[in-house]
Amino acid sequence: MIEARLYLLQRGSAILLAPLVLIHLGLILYAIGDGLSAAEILERTRGNLGWAAFYGLFVLAVAVHAPIGLRNLAREWLAWRGRSVDATTLAFGLVLLALGLRAVWAVIGVGAGDGA
């Protein structure tokens, strides 16, 4: 049961992430191609709810997706099994979620035009 649930979360988040990653990659290439500076990037992202939602979802999906993969890896390659690995990978997921949402907040959320 738990394995089936984790599988659902892993593949479900993967299906969600696939288009998000494509768009993210596109953005990276666009930003590099145009040689954007931090100020220029922030100017475009600040206060933009669409991007906030996009990256908020991205962070959430990653925070689900990555720990499950790490759990598999730890169990298979390090022979680290049982509750301790479950707890550790869960904690990693929560840290990712917190740091990720903070980053979204930093880049997009702070009151539009602040400091720019």
Binding site: M1, E3, A4, L6, Y7, L8, N72, E76
Partner: protein, 240 residues
Amino acid sequence: MTDETLTVEIWRGKDTGRFETYQVPHRKSQTILDVVTWIQRNREPALAYRFACRVGMCGSCAMTVNGRPRWTCRTHVSKIVGSGGVRIEPLRNLPRIKDLVTDMTPFFEKWQAARGRFEPSATRSEPMASIPSDDPERRIVDAGIECINCGVCHAACDVVTWNPDYVGPAALNRAWTLANDQRDGDRAGVLKAVSEVGGCHACHTHGSCVEHCPVGLNPTAGIAGLKRMTLSALLKGSLS
């Protein structure tokens, strides 16, 4: 052809042991099993190995040949030896007993864990259910049913090596045929069994099993089918 000789290395011992080297006359249409048999009859009477049918039916002769798991009675020497010799070891991922013989007990225990056995839905006094041969489920079963229990896929699978709970491709392939068998009395039970720790979700779709199955079965596709079936059961809430 008879004047040619083969250099054959064979594992002797259990977990500790060594490779012994033998010179074996190379014959036309010679199989790896022929080579092992020749050595046992002419050089090493105490050599332990297993076979029965010699025609690819019984699944008892599987060994590791030059690093790959194979059914030795249907593997021709000429296909194996390029420039080098032949090195024969027991199958991976199973406890060793002696020389080329492994203990298949865990392999079959895992079939049971995956509910890889038929649960009847009728008694012998009732008429046999007939399922048309073009029925979609019947076709799925037909595609996976010819497993000879040789353990080659089990030996080839890395997840079996890495995850001691993993029941492996052969057991799941059997479970897949039962999950599609209209005569089985507890198909939901199959889905529950393969959703346990070490069930179908542990498979990472490497495809080493498909790559090596001597009878050309495709456990990876069956396991993917089980994943889809269990997911829809999970979403419908019928998995618990």
